[in-house]
Symmetry: C2
Subunit: 198 residues, 2 copies
Protein backbone atom coordinates (compact mmCIF):
# COMPACT_ATOMS: atom_id res chain seq x y z
CA UNK A 1 0.00 0.00 0.00
CA UNK A 2 2.73 2.48 -0.95
CA UNK A 3 0.14 4.63 -2.70
CA UNK A 4 -2.04 4.90 0.40
CA UNK A 5 1.02 5.59 2.55
CA UNK A 6 1.96 8.52 0.32
CA UNK A 7 -1.57 9.90 0.43
CA UNK A 8 -1.49 9.61 4.22
CA UNK A 9 1.85 11.44 4.35
CA UNK A 10 0.30 14.26 2.33
CA UNK A 11 -2.70 14.43 4.68
CA UNK A 12 -0.38 14.62 7.68
CA UNK A 13 1.91 17.21 6.07
CA UNK A 14 -0.93 19.61 5.29
CA UNK A 15 -1.72 19.81 9.02
CA UNK A 16 1.02 22.47 8.99
CA UNK A 17 -1.38 24.87 7.25
CA UNK A 18 -3.04 25.29 10.65
CA UNK A 19 0.12 27.04 11.78
CA UNK A 20 0.43 29.47 8.86
CA UNK A 21 -0.85 32.78 10.18
CA UNK A 22 -2.49 35.51 8.14
CA UNK A 23 -2.60 39.22 8.89
CA UNK A 24 -6.32 39.08 9.65
CA UNK A 25 -7.51 38.22 13.13
CA UNK A 26 -10.49 36.16 14.24
CA UNK A 27 -13.56 38.20 15.05
CA UNK A 28 -13.82 39.34 18.61
CA UNK A 29 -10.15 38.69 19.41
CA UNK A 30 -7.63 40.99 17.77
CA UNK A 31 -4.76 39.13 19.45
CA UNK A 32 -5.43 35.84 17.65
CA UNK A 33 -4.42 35.75 13.98
CA UNK A 34 -6.45 33.58 11.66
CA UNK A 35 -4.61 30.69 10.01
CA UNK A 36 -4.81 29.42 6.44
CA UNK A 37 -6.95 26.38 7.31
CA UNK A 38 -9.58 28.58 8.98
CA UNK A 39 -9.47 31.06 6.10
CA UNK A 40 -9.95 28.30 3.50
CA UNK A 41 -12.87 26.80 5.41
CA UNK A 42 -14.59 30.16 5.82
CA UNK A 43 -13.94 31.11 2.21
CA UNK A 44 -15.55 27.85 1.01
CA UNK A 45 -18.74 28.58 2.94
CA UNK A 46 -18.83 32.18 1.63
CA UNK A 47 -18.54 30.73 -1.88
CA UNK A 48 -21.50 28.41 -1.26
CA UNK A 49 -23.81 30.92 0.42
CA UNK A 50 -23.30 33.86 -1.94
CA UNK A 51 -23.40 32.02 -5.28
CA UNK A 52 -26.44 33.98 -6.53
CA UNK A 53 -24.41 37.21 -6.62
CA UNK A 54 -21.60 35.94 -8.83
CA UNK A 55 -21.95 36.70 -12.53
CA UNK A 56 -19.85 33.83 -13.86
CA UNK A 57 -21.48 31.00 -15.75
CA UNK A 58 -21.07 28.09 -16.00
CA UNK A 59 -19.13 27.20 -12.90
CA UNK A 60 -18.43 23.76 -11.43
CA UNK A 61 -18.89 24.10 -7.66
CA UNK A 62 -17.05 20.87 -6.87
CA UNK A 63 -13.95 22.18 -8.66
CA UNK A 64 -14.33 25.60 -7.04
CA UNK A 65 -14.46 24.03 -3.58
CA UNK A 66 -11.43 21.83 -4.28
CA UNK A 67 -9.50 24.85 -5.49
CA UNK A 68 -10.46 26.85 -2.41
CA UNK A 69 -9.56 24.06 -0.01
CA UNK A 70 -6.05 23.62 -1.47
CA UNK A 71 -5.22 27.16 -2.66
CA UNK A 72 -3.08 28.05 0.37
CA UNK A 73 -1.20 24.77 0.86
CA UNK A 74 1.83 26.34 -0.83
CA UNK A 75 2.20 28.69 2.13
CA UNK A 76 3.35 25.75 4.27
CA UNK A 77 6.80 26.34 2.77
CA UNK A 78 6.61 29.83 1.22
CA UNK A 79 4.80 31.52 4.11
CA UNK A 80 2.12 34.17 3.68
CA UNK A 81 2.86 37.27 1.62
CA UNK A 82 0.52 39.84 3.24
CA UNK A 83 -1.65 41.52 0.61
CA UNK A 84 -0.87 45.09 1.64
CA UNK A 85 2.82 44.61 2.47
CA UNK A 86 5.67 45.34 0.08
CA UNK A 87 7.10 42.28 -1.62
CA UNK A 88 8.57 41.23 -4.96
CA UNK A 89 5.93 39.56 -7.12
CA UNK A 90 8.67 37.58 -8.87
CA UNK A 91 9.94 36.25 -5.55
CA UNK A 92 6.40 35.34 -4.43
CA UNK A 93 5.69 33.48 -7.67
CA UNK A 94 9.01 31.64 -7.60
CA UNK A 95 8.67 30.60 -3.94
CA UNK A 96 5.07 29.51 -4.32
CA UNK A 97 5.75 27.45 -7.41
CA UNK A 98 8.60 25.64 -5.63
CA UNK A 99 6.28 25.08 -2.67
CA UNK A 100 3.50 23.74 -4.86
CA UNK A 101 5.90 21.27 -6.46
CA UNK A 102 7.01 20.16 -3.01
CA UNK A 103 3.63 19.74 -1.33
CA UNK A 104 1.86 18.03 -4.25
CA UNK A 105 4.81 15.67 -4.81
CA UNK A 106 3.64 13.75 -1.73
CA UNK A 107 0.66 12.56 -3.79
CA UNK A 108 0.52 9.71 -6.32
CA UNK A 109 1.23 10.86 -9.89
CA UNK A 110 -2.35 11.35 -11.08
CA UNK A 111 -3.47 13.30 -8.03
CA UNK A 112 -0.23 15.26 -8.05
CA UNK A 113 -1.04 16.40 -11.58
CA UNK A 114 -4.69 17.12 -10.79
CA UNK A 115 -3.99 19.26 -7.73
CA UNK A 116 -0.96 21.02 -9.21
CA UNK A 117 -3.12 22.00 -12.18
CA UNK A 118 -5.95 23.16 -9.94
CA UNK A 119 -3.53 25.32 -7.96
CA UNK A 120 -2.00 26.78 -11.15
CA UNK A 121 -5.47 27.49 -12.51
CA UNK A 122 -6.29 29.40 -9.33
CA UNK A 123 -3.05 31.37 -9.51
CA UNK A 124 -3.49 32.26 -13.18
CA UNK A 125 -7.15 33.11 -12.57
CA UNK A 126 -7.89 32.22 -16.15
CA UNK A 127 -11.11 30.20 -15.87
CA UNK A 128 -14.58 30.84 -14.45
CA UNK A 129 -13.91 28.47 -11.56
CA UNK A 130 -10.65 30.23 -10.66
CA UNK A 131 -12.25 33.67 -10.93
CA UNK A 132 -15.09 32.49 -8.71
CA UNK A 133 -12.64 31.20 -6.10
CA UNK A 134 -10.66 34.46 -6.25
CA UNK A 135 -13.79 36.53 -5.57
CA UNK A 136 -14.19 34.70 -2.26
CA UNK A 137 -10.50 34.77 -1.38
CA UNK A 138 -10.82 38.55 -1.44
CA UNK A 139 -14.31 38.60 0.11
CA UNK A 140 -13.42 36.46 3.13
CA UNK A 141 -10.37 38.60 3.85
CA UNK A 142 -12.53 41.70 3.52
CA UNK A 143 -15.25 40.69 5.97
CA UNK A 144 -12.67 39.37 8.43
CA UNK A 145 -10.94 42.73 8.29
CA UNK A 146 -14.15 44.76 8.61
CA UNK A 147 -15.30 42.79 11.63
CA UNK A 148 -12.04 43.53 13.42
CA UNK A 149 -12.54 47.25 12.72
CA UNK A 150 -10.11 47.35 9.80
CA UNK A 151 -7.28 45.67 11.71
CA UNK A 152 -5.22 44.90 8.57
CA UNK A 153 -5.81 48.33 7.04
CA UNK A 154 -4.89 50.02 10.32
CA UNK A 155 -1.66 48.04 10.33
CA UNK A 156 -0.60 48.71 6.73
CA UNK A 157 -2.42 51.97 5.87
CA UNK A 158 -2.93 51.00 2.21
CA UNK A 159 -3.87 53.50 -0.51
CA UNK A 160 -7.40 53.59 -1.95
CA UNK A 161 -5.87 52.49 -5.24
CA UNK A 162 -4.31 49.40 -3.67
CA UNK A 163 -7.54 48.37 -1.89
CA UNK A 164 -9.55 48.90 -5.08
CA UNK A 165 -7.09 46.80 -7.03
CA UNK A 166 -7.34 44.03 -4.43
CA UNK A 167 -11.15 44.14 -4.56
CA UNK A 168 -11.36 44.36 -8.35
CA UNK A 169 -12.31 40.66 -8.88
CA UNK A 170 -15.35 41.28 -6.67
CA UNK A 171 -16.22 44.49 -8.54
CA UNK A 172 -16.05 42.70 -11.89
CA UNK A 173 -17.53 39.28 -11.16
CA UNK A 174 -19.85 40.00 -8.23
CA UNK A 175 -20.85 43.66 -8.67
CA UNK A 176 -23.80 43.36 -6.26
CA UNK A 177 -21.47 42.27 -3.46
CA UNK A 178 -19.11 45.09 -4.34
CA UNK A 179 -21.82 47.74 -4.43
CA UNK A 180 -23.64 46.64 -1.28
CA UNK A 181 -20.81 45.51 0.97
CA UNK A 182 -17.35 46.47 -0.24
CA UNK A 183 -17.82 49.97 -1.64
CA UNK A 184 -19.67 51.45 1.33
CA UNK A 185 -17.16 50.10 3.83
CA UNK A 186 -14.21 51.34 1.80
CA UNK A 187 -15.71 54.84 1.75
CA UNK A 188 -16.14 54.69 5.53
CA UNK A 189 -12.48 53.81 6.11
CA UNK A 190 -11.33 56.42 3.61
CA UNK A 191 -13.24 59.05 5.61
CA UNK A 192 -11.57 57.78 8.77
CA UNK A 193 -8.21 58.25 7.05
CA UNK A 194 -7.30 54.59 7.51
CA UNK A 195 -7.39 53.89 3.78
CA UNK A 196 -5.22 56.66 2.33
CA UNK A 197 -6.33 58.86 -0.57
CA UNK A 198 -2.75 59.92 -1.38
Amino acid sequence: MEKLNNQLKFLLEIDKVKGILRQSVVMGDTTRQENDAEHSWHMAICALILQEYVELSPINMERVLKMILIHDLVEIYSGDFPAYSEYSIEEKEKKELESANKIFSFLPKEQQKEYMNLWLEFELCSTNDAKYATVFDRFQGFIQNIESDGHTWRKFGPSKEKVEERMRPIAIYAPKLYKNIIYAKMEEYIKLGIIKLF
Copy 2:
Protein backbone atom coordinates in the same frame (compact mmCIF):
# COMPACT_ATOMS: atom_id res chain seq x y z
CA MET B 1 -30.77 44.02 0.31
CA GLU B 2 -32.21 42.44 3.48
CA LYS B 3 -31.48 38.98 2.04
CA LEU B 4 -27.81 39.76 1.49
CA ASN B 5 -27.58 41.33 4.94
CA ASN B 6 -28.89 38.14 6.52
CA GLN B 7 -26.47 36.00 4.55
CA LEU B 8 -23.66 38.28 5.67
CA LYS B 9 -24.77 37.99 9.31
CA PHE B 10 -24.62 34.19 8.95
CA LEU B 11 -21.11 34.37 7.46
CA LEU B 12 -19.96 36.57 10.34
CA GLU B 13 -21.65 34.42 13.00
CA ILE B 14 -19.95 31.21 11.82
CA ASP B 15 -16.55 32.80 12.50
CA LYS B 16 -17.21 31.57 16.06
CA VAL B 17 -16.52 28.00 14.92
CA LYS B 18 -12.83 28.97 14.94
CA GLY B 19 -13.10 29.20 18.71
CA ILE B 20 -14.78 25.84 19.31
CA LEU B 21 -12.01 23.54 20.51
CA ARG B 22 -11.86 19.79 20.02
CA GLN B 23 -10.05 17.25 22.19
CA SER B 24 -7.48 16.59 19.45
CA VAL B 25 -4.40 18.77 19.18
CA VAL B 26 -2.57 20.04 16.13
CA MET B 27 0.35 17.89 15.09
CA GLY B 28 3.64 18.84 16.63
CA ASP B 29 2.07 20.94 19.40
CA THR B 30 0.15 19.06 22.07
CA THR B 31 -0.67 22.32 23.85
CA ARG B 32 -2.75 23.69 20.99
CA GLN B 33 -6.19 22.13 20.54
CA GLU B 34 -7.59 21.94 17.05
CA ASN B 35 -10.78 23.89 16.40
CA ASP B 36 -13.86 22.92 14.41
CA ALA B 37 -12.98 25.08 11.39
CA GLU B 38 -9.56 23.42 11.06
CA HIS B 39 -11.09 19.98 11.56
CA SER B 40 -13.73 20.59 8.86
CA TRP B 41 -11.15 21.88 6.39
CA HIS B 42 -8.82 18.91 6.98
CA MET B 43 -11.71 16.43 6.84
CA ALA B 44 -12.79 17.83 3.45
CA ILE B 45 -9.33 17.28 1.97
CA CYS B 46 -9.18 13.75 3.40
CA ALA B 47 -12.53 13.09 1.72
CA LEU B 48 -11.18 14.29 -1.63
CA ILE B 49 -7.83 12.52 -1.54
CA LEU B 50 -9.01 9.09 -0.34
CA GLN B 51 -12.13 8.72 -2.49
CA GLU B 52 -10.85 5.56 -4.20
CA TYR B 53 -11.00 3.62 -0.91
CA VAL B 54 -14.64 4.33 -0.12
CA GLU B 55 -17.10 1.64 -1.18
CA LEU B 56 -20.17 3.84 -1.50
CA SER B 57 -21.66 4.52 -4.90
CA PRO B 58 -22.98 6.79 -6.23
CA ILE B 59 -21.92 9.77 -4.17
CA ASN B 60 -22.23 13.46 -5.00
CA MET B 61 -18.94 15.07 -3.96
CA GLU B 62 -20.31 18.61 -4.02
CA ARG B 63 -22.98 17.60 -1.47
CA VAL B 64 -20.43 15.67 0.59
CA LEU B 65 -18.17 18.71 0.77
CA LYS B 66 -21.05 21.02 1.72
CA MET B 67 -22.08 18.61 4.45
CA ILE B 68 -18.52 18.40 5.78
CA LEU B 69 -18.03 22.16 5.75
CA ILE B 70 -21.20 22.83 7.78
CA HIS B 71 -21.45 19.69 9.96
CA ASP B 72 -19.97 21.27 13.08
CA LEU B 73 -21.64 24.70 12.94
CA VAL B 74 -24.10 23.54 15.60
CA GLU B 75 -21.23 23.39 18.09
CA ILE B 76 -21.11 27.21 18.13
CA TYR B 77 -23.97 27.03 20.64
CA SER B 78 -23.97 23.41 21.86
CA GLY B 79 -20.19 23.06 22.30
CA ASP B 80 -18.26 19.91 21.46
CA PHE B 81 -19.28 16.60 23.05
CA PRO B 82 -15.95 14.73 23.12
CA ALA B 83 -16.29 11.31 21.48
CA TYR B 84 -14.78 9.31 24.35
CA SER B 85 -16.27 11.30 27.21
CA GLU B 86 -19.45 10.35 29.06
CA TYR B 87 -22.53 12.30 27.99
CA SER B 88 -26.23 11.81 27.49
CA ILE B 89 -27.04 11.12 23.84
CA GLU B 90 -30.50 12.60 24.35
CA GLU B 91 -29.01 15.82 25.69
CA LYS B 92 -26.52 16.01 22.82
CA GLU B 93 -29.25 15.51 20.22
CA LYS B 94 -31.56 18.03 21.86
CA LYS B 95 -28.86 20.70 22.21
CA GLU B 96 -27.54 20.21 18.68
CA LEU B 97 -30.99 20.38 17.13
CA GLU B 98 -31.70 23.65 18.96
CA SER B 99 -28.32 24.95 17.79
CA ALA B 100 -28.96 23.93 14.20
CA ASN B 101 -32.28 25.77 14.23
CA LYS B 102 -30.53 28.83 15.63
CA ILE B 103 -27.54 28.99 13.31
CA PHE B 104 -29.39 28.21 10.07
CA SER B 105 -32.17 30.68 10.92
CA PHE B 106 -29.75 33.47 9.98
CA LEU B 107 -30.13 32.36 6.35
CA PRO B 108 -32.92 33.20 3.91
CA LYS B 109 -35.74 30.61 3.91
CA GLU B 110 -34.55 28.46 0.98
CA GLN B 111 -30.96 28.21 2.15
CA GLN B 112 -32.12 27.69 5.72
CA LYS B 113 -34.07 24.64 4.55
CA GLU B 114 -31.25 23.35 2.35
CA TYR B 115 -28.56 23.54 5.04
CA MET B 116 -30.81 22.34 7.85
CA ASN B 117 -31.64 19.29 5.75
CA LEU B 118 -27.99 18.68 4.88
CA TRP B 119 -27.08 18.81 8.56
CA LEU B 120 -29.94 16.46 9.51
CA GLU B 121 -28.90 14.07 6.74
CA PHE B 122 -25.37 14.01 8.16
CA GLU B 123 -26.64 13.41 11.69
CA LEU B 124 -28.99 10.61 10.64
CA CYS B 125 -26.26 9.10 8.43
CA SER B 126 -28.95 7.64 6.23
CA THR B 127 -27.62 8.37 2.72
CA ASN B 128 -24.44 7.52 0.81
CA ASP B 129 -23.29 11.14 1.00
CA ALA B 130 -23.79 11.27 4.77
CA LYS B 131 -22.04 7.93 5.29
CA TYR B 132 -19.16 9.15 3.16
CA ALA B 133 -18.85 12.33 5.21
CA THR B 134 -19.01 10.32 8.45
CA VAL B 135 -16.13 8.08 7.35
CA PHE B 136 -13.91 11.15 7.12
CA ASP B 137 -15.20 12.74 10.33
CA ARG B 138 -13.86 9.64 12.09
CA PHE B 139 -10.78 9.34 9.87
CA GLN B 140 -9.57 12.91 10.40
CA GLY B 141 -9.98 12.59 14.16
CA PHE B 142 -8.10 9.30 14.03
CA ILE B 143 -5.03 10.55 12.16
CA GLN B 144 -4.92 13.71 14.26
CA ASN B 145 -4.90 11.55 17.37
CA ILE B 146 -2.28 9.13 16.08
CA GLU B 147 0.07 11.93 15.08
CA SER B 148 -0.05 13.33 18.59
CA ASP B 149 0.86 9.90 19.98
CA GLY B 150 -2.71 9.01 20.97
CA HIS B 151 -3.28 12.25 22.89
CA THR B 152 -7.08 11.82 23.08
CA TRP B 153 -6.87 8.12 23.97
CA ARG B 154 -4.28 8.85 26.66
CA LYS B 155 -6.64 11.42 28.11
CA PHE B 156 -9.81 9.31 28.13
CA GLY B 157 -8.47 5.71 28.16
CA PRO B 158 -11.35 4.36 26.10
CA SER B 159 -12.19 0.66 25.80
CA LYS B 160 -11.37 -1.30 22.64
CA GLU B 161 -15.11 -1.71 22.19
CA LYS B 162 -15.70 2.04 22.24
CA VAL B 163 -12.90 2.76 19.75
CA GLU B 164 -14.13 0.01 17.45
CA GLU B 165 -17.65 1.38 17.61
CA ARG B 166 -16.35 4.87 16.77
CA MET B 167 -14.36 3.50 13.81
CA ARG B 168 -17.16 1.25 12.55
CA PRO B 169 -18.21 3.54 9.65
CA ILE B 170 -14.64 3.29 8.31
CA ALA B 171 -14.63 -0.52 8.76
CA ILE B 172 -17.90 -0.86 6.85
CA TYR B 173 -17.60 1.75 4.10
CA ALA B 174 -13.84 2.00 3.61
CA PRO B 175 -12.47 -1.40 4.66
CA LYS B 176 -9.11 -0.81 2.98
CA LEU B 177 -8.53 2.28 5.10
CA TYR B 178 -9.61 0.35 8.17
CA LYS B 179 -7.37 -2.62 7.46
CA ASN B 180 -4.27 -0.66 6.47
CA ILE B 181 -4.39 2.33 8.78
CA ILE B 182 -6.91 2.04 11.60
CA TYR B 183 -6.64 -1.60 12.67
CA ALA B 184 -2.85 -1.76 12.99
CA LYS B 185 -2.68 1.43 15.02
CA MET B 186 -5.46 0.30 17.33
CA GLU B 187 -3.60 -2.93 18.03
CA GLU B 188 -0.48 -0.92 18.82
CA TYR B 189 -2.27 1.22 21.39
CA ILE B 190 -4.02 -1.79 22.89
CA LYS B 191 -0.60 -3.37 23.43
CA LEU B 192 0.56 -0.17 25.10
CA GLY B 193 -2.44 -0.40 27.42
CA ILE B 194 -3.73 3.00 26.31
CA ILE B 195 -6.80 1.52 24.67
CA LYS B 196 -8.24 -0.71 27.38
CA LEU B 197 -9.23 -4.32 26.76
CA PHE B 198 -11.41 -4.50 29.89
